[in-house]
Every structure is written in C-alpha cells, then in structure tokens.
Amino acid sequence: MTPTACTPVDGTPEPVDTEDGTATVVTVAGDEKVFPGHYPGFPIFPGVCIVEYAHRSALATFPAEGRWELAAVESTRFLSPVFPGDELRTELTWSQDGEGWRCKAKVASQRGNAAQIRFRFDAGRAG
C-alpha cells in the first residue's frame, strides 16, 4: 500500500496474472493491528477487513487512470471466516457503468470462498 493509505489492514495485495482477468494475493499476518480487539483471545479477521483487502485490490488493479474512490458497497456476502496467517486470493471482474466502474470481487482463502463483494467506484473529488 502507499505510505499515505489510511486503512485498518496492514498488508498490501499483490497483483498476479490470470488468464481472464485480474487477481491479487495477500497474507493476513498474525500481527495485523485489528486482531487484539477482534477478538481478545480469539483472533478472527473482521469481515470489513476482508472487504478492505478487496477494496485495496480493486484500487491496485483499477482499469482506468485517475483518482477513484469507493462510492458504494452494493453487496457483500461472507461465506467463511478468515484467521491469522490465511492467504487471501481476490479475483476481480470489472465493468464500466456510466462514468463510474463496477467491480465484483471474489475472495478465497485456503479453506474455500470467504466473501463475494460488489463495489461501485466514482471519480474521486478533491477536498
């Protein structure tokens, strides 16, 4: 991630080549800053942090130039929990929607599908 990212996640999703689209991989470190509080004695990666890794994956692989920002989380389904040390692979499918972009993210850990998310991005505005 860029040094100026304000985010609850500590890792940086790395783009990987796929045959038909875009994907990223990132490892959920055991010392991610959210774990002590989610939950004490039982670290489980917050669902919104899975969404955040998908969000950052989308920004890292955005199909258009410019500054884009999250305008909507159109849907999210959580399918299985994510624990410290899990590797998340996120597959992204893009479609243009007027002046914005839609992105469908499928997140999987080694235990299977973890989440499916649909984002909408609009051109970012300064200020």
């Binding site: 040094p3 304000c6 970012g124």
Partner: protein
Amino acid sequence: MSSVPQGVAGIKAVLPHRYPMLLVDRVLELVPGERLTALKAVTCNEPWYEGLSDKASEEDHDYPRVLLIESWCQAAGVLIASERPNPDVLSGQVMLFGGISDVRFTGRVRPGDVMRHEVRLSRALTDTVIFEGECLVDGRVVAEIGRVVMAMRPATELTEQVPGTAASSEEKS
C-alpha cells in the same frame, strides 16, 4: 431504560469488540427491537492514521469507509445485544455478519467529526436480524445503509473452524 448501555463501559458489557476495533462510543437512544442512535467520534489518534506521512493531504485523512460500516454495524449489534448480551465471543450465540448491501457513501468523515449512526431494525427472524439506516455528520448524511443482515449462530460454528484447533497441542510438543 436503566439497562441501556450509554457509554463505553455499558457497550463493552454487551459487545465482544475491544481496542482498536471497538467503534461505538455512546448510545443516545435505544428502543429495544426497534431502533438505536449511537455516536462514534473520529480522531487522528486512531491507529489507522499512524502510517500517514506528514505529506498526506486532507482527503488522505478520510476515515476508512469500511470502518464506517463496521462502526454502524456495531451500533446495530448493541441494539441486538441489548436483548441478548454476549460479550464473550467464545460461548453461547454469537452475532456474525451475514451480508451488507446497498451501502452508498455520500460524504466524507475526517478526524474531528462525530458520526451519528441511525439504526433501524427492519426485520427480525428466528436467528437473523436485518437492519437499515444512515450515518450522519453534523446533520448531513455521509452514508446510507440499505441492508445489513446479522445472523446469530452458535459460537462453536466459529471455534470449530479455527485452523489447527485439534492439532494445536501437537504443534507445541
């Protein structure tokens, strides 16, 4: 109304979340089974801001939108938990995110802002509760929350999925 968790101590009595992921500061109003209003103050001392360089712009300080969602959902959790408190995530029934839909961001949140979460219970089934509402800052809506589904599940459904639970004692030897 004496059982309404108004401050952090009361919120901690009903939610298992702790620093840095306890994202509700105060409950203003709670009508059991119906609605809740809660506050979350945003400060640059939260750990998400730690990595920002001195060159970061004002918009770089936008509060992470996923944390706005988390904070709002925790407020919804307080509404559920007021009837079924469960500060221990390892026993009994735990509240899990089933899904989040139709969340639209219509404004920004920055350090110094106080988010006001308006949570309405739109439907309650046996083990699933559905919420909707808004998040406001200074009276303007910064996010519309179309639908949040929370499911009450036995804690064992979670604990049994922890990798290496059965083998953890072997790994130590």
